[in-house]
């Protein structure tokens, strides 16, 4: 067990390092930020001076080495546009995204678990078909369309929520639903699949043969066992949601790291792009590591895989 943790930790370190290098390279090929930073009237001398100031005139491998060295020490550099330390910027905006993601995950679980379980239990019936139909629908609707529709319906027509922004406790509801849409749908289908697997298992058949009431079978055994794989799924999604809030944050003017990264990509603000990707990826890796360890510890059936 201990050996497993050490091995996984070592893997995680390699992966994070790889992410740092890949992100650096992808950011750098995005083009030249100087043309976007300076007003169009700026002279050639000004452009050359700024390129030098940003350290962009050095060869690529030198820049990479410098960057990796900085990151390892916790320094993600300064934003080209805002002239502020990037780490501080990202940490300032992280709570907003975290808040949105947590609420979205809760909504997602509240919708998808019951939907998935009921569909599995009533497999093949009209309830199952409707449930899974809704799930597929949720995965197929472009989420920006859904987001704007939610604004038009619930903010403008029914005045129940603010159309955008961060103020007020109910401002998170519409963006959270938009974010949760796809993931609730995906989780519902996976839940159904997992519960079906459990329902087919031998011990369930045995319990039924013994005459244990269906509800007890369901609650005490099936759901509890499916729960672990569902937990795995939820953790995975949480990590994905952190990086997937980009469109939702844009539509709802939500001041999180998704907004920050979109502006950074349009503005070719490399340090910010790199930092958001690296930090989000690291969170994802950590969450996975944690879940894997818990999984290993609680479910002895799992082997290397």
């Amino acid at each position: 067990m201990g050996l497993y943790i050490v091995r996984r930790l070592w893997h995680s370190v390699i992966v994070v390092f790889g992410v740092i290098v890949i992100t650096f390279l992808i950011a750098r090929v995005m083009g030249d930020p100087v043309a976007l930073l300076l007003p169009p009237d700026a002279s050639k001398e000004q452009r050359i001076a700024m390129t030098h100031e940003l350290g962009l005139d050095k060869p690529l491998y030198v820049q990479l080495a410098v960057y990796v060295g900085q990151v390892v020490r916790g320094d993600f550099g300064k934003s080209f546009r805002y002239n502020q330390p990037v780490l501080r910027l990202v940490l300032e905006k992280f709570p907003a995204t975290l808040y949105l993601t947590i609420v979205a995950t809760i909504i997602s679980i509240m919708i998808s678990l019951p939907l998935g379980v009921i569909s599995a239990v009533r497999r093949g019936t009209i309830t199952d078909r409707i449930g899974m139909g809704l799930a597929v629908l949720g995965q197929s609707i472009p989420n920006f369309w859904a987001g704007i529709m939610l604004i038009l319906l619930f903010a403008v027509k029914f005045r129940l929520f603010p159309p955008s922004g961060y103020a007020g406790w109910n401002a998170v509801i519409l963006p959270a639903f938009t974010l949760a849409l796809f993931f609730a749908a995906a989780t519902a289908r996976l839940t159904r699949s997992n519960v079906l697997d459990e329902l087919d298992a031998d011990y369930v058949r045995y319990a039924r043969l013994k005459g244990v009431p269906e509800r007890t079978v369901l609650l005490r055994h099936v759901i509890r066992n499916a729960f672990i794989s569902i937990l795995n799924m939820v953790a995975l999604q949480f990590g994905l949601l952190l990086g997937g809030a980009v469109i939702t944050e844009f539509i709802f003017s939500w001041p999180g790291i998704g907004r920050l990264s979109i502006d950074a990509i349009y503005g070719r603000d490399f340090p910010v792009v790199q930092a958001t990707v690296i930090i989000t990826a690291s969170c994802f890796i950590l969450i996975n590591l944690f879940v894997d360890v818990v999984y290993m510890a609680t479910d002895p059936r799992v082997k290397r895989g």
Binding site: A35, P39, D41, Q46, I151, S164, G165, F250, D263
Partner: protein, 501 residues
């Protein structure tokens, strides 16, 4: 237990009601399409940034609604000789912390704009200034390197006066976390991408604003911005696409204010590329091929005015007697034949997407019109970040769609970068003679002489047609009916110190 529950319920209801966020009578909420980059004017490079600065700071001069610099912190100016200007400062102006504005603050602020250590992004506009001297507490002299007839315009652009002592004591980084100026609003707080909160300055030298709080919010999604206005959460929204205006005008609690913009839209012609584009007749043909009126009517829903020479009435030097190229495809074809291209030729035409109002749609229409006279257009739409690198890196092949705003309110603000010198990053056409003329006009102090020079230059540029001139934008600002006194401006500045609800 029950009482506690009731309290919680009432509390939640109150919170709910508060959060519905109706902008109250004491508060004006503005929703823009973009966010301020930084609270430090040295890091400003767009009018979005400046729309924060103009609330918190003042400058010596500032443009009025017609683009003419008017005295603000300066009472008057005197031109002592071609390169020396003397300014008398307004007395009794106080910064938000109570300290009095004096000449040393002016010297410090302008020095900062030209300081190579500070590297102000708008610093290029101040490069004509050699030095600033303090004559006495309320008199300042600015000495320019060569005669600079538009010094007042430069001072009106990002020439914000900072409190010298405070900035030097705290250091710029700390100071700009809670900046202090002499402007009509005091800075309260800013959360990036969320909102900026400003509070009325009751001691403002120009008269206290008529409401208590100004909130500036960046809302990038158009549908959300309009929704904010519809729900009463916002009082002013900018950058509304023309196709929504019809419906917005019908709404009872909404006012639409159109204003002629200083921004013009046109198409670059790379005269350093293929031979066809080096020929004046070809370029004129391209101009005759465009039906500007139909583009404005159908794609912009009327929100535009055909433009002759890439500058507008807001630019000093503008010649209103020049009429735009007419729509004459027959003449265009004839000119092409005369130039030796009876069967047309091929061009690559680049366009941004979402950078200017309906840009890619208009560019597509222009491409079709060019095709109609035989110029086979390869039409490519690109994201602005990629396109601006092509433009400023002199990598444009043939044609490129672009717009130009109104920074200096002077003809040189447009013609300088475009035709002033071959090295200028955004220049795709020039001749030594033209560059010479522009240089002369840039350094002639006599207004009448300058006007005459620019009249001649414009006639030449119109005839040479180095751009496909298209139109002048009409901006539409949408406000709630409650808002009184809001005057939309052609330079995209949003001013609030005369506004009430």
């Amino acid at each position: 237990m029950k009482k506690g529950f009731l309290v919680v319920l009432v509390g939640m209801a109150l919170l709910f009601a508060c959060s519905l966020g109706y902008a109250s009578k004491d508060e004006v909420v503005v929703c823009q399409g973009a966010e301020v980059n930084s609270l430090d004017p040295a890091r400003h490079n767009s009018v979005t940034d400046e729309n924060y600065a103009v609330q918190v700071f003042d400058s010596l001069y500032f443009f009025d609604a017609n683009g003419i610099p008017q005295p603000r912190l300066a009472l008057s100016h005197k031109v002592i000789n071609d390169t020396t200007w003397e300014f008398k400062l307004r007395k009794g102006v106080k910064f938000h912390d109570g300290t009095v504005l004096t000449a040393k603050d002016v010297k410090f602020s302008i020095d900062r704009m030209i300081d190579p250590q500070v590297k102000a992004l708008f610093g290029t506009f101040y490069s004509t200034i050699k030095e600033v001297t303090v004559v006495d507490d309320y008199t300042v002299r600015i000495i320019t390197k060569s005669p600079d007839p538009i010094l007042l315009n430069r001072l009106s652009l990002s020439g914000w006066i900072l409190p010298a002592d405070l900035v030097q004591k705290q250091g710029a980084e700390t100071f700009f976390q809670k900046p202090i100026g002499t402007g009509p609003f005091k800075f309260v707080s800013w959360s990036r991408n969320d909102r900026m909160i400003l509070e009325a300055n009751q001691n403002y030298w120009g008269g206290a604003p008529k409401f208590k709080r100004l909130v500036i919010r960046p809302v990038p999604e158009i549908a959300a911005r309009v929704a904010e206005l519809q729900t009463g959460n916002a009082d002013v929204i900018s950058s509304v696409p023309p196709f929504l205006l019809g419906k917005l005008k019908e709404m009872p609690n909404v006012t639409v204010q159109p204003v002629l913009s200083g921004r013009t839209i046109f198409v670059y012609i790379n005269t350093y590329g293929q031979d066809a584009l080096k020929n004046k007749k070809v370029r004129q043909a391209l101009n005759y091929a465009i039906d500007r009126k139909s583009i404005i009517d159908s794609i912009l829903s009327g929100a535009g005015v055909p433009n002759a020479v890439a500058i507008t009435k807001y630019h000093f030097g503008f010649d209103p007697t020049l009429k735009p190229y007419t729509y004459d495809p027959a003449k265009a074809k004839k000119l092409l034949a005369e130039a030796g291209y009876p069967n047309g030729f091929k061009v690559e035409f680049l366009s941004p997407s979402g950078r200017y109002v309906m840009d890619k749609e208009i560019a597509e229409a222009v491409a079709k019109m060019l095709n109609a006279i035989g110029v086979q257009t390869e039409f490519k739409v690109m994201e602005w970040g990629t396109l601006v690198q092509i433009y400023s890196g002199k990598k444009l092949k043939d044609l490129g769609f672009i717009g130009w705003g109104n920074t200096l309110s002077d003809a040189d603000g447009t013609y300088g970068p475009y035709f002033g010198s071959a090295e200028s990053p955004f220049s795709y056409y020039t001749t030594p003679a033209l560059a010479d003329k522009l240089n002369k006009a840039r350094t002639t102090m006599d207004k009448k002489k300058r006007l005459a020079m620019y009249k001649q230059i414009q006639a030449e540029i119109f005839d040479e047609a180095p751009l496909i001139f298209l139109y002048q934008q009409v901006d539409n600002y949408v406000t709630s009916k409650e808002l009184k006194g809001f005057q939309a401006r052609g330079d995209e500045f949003l001013l609030f110190y005369k506004v009430s609800k």
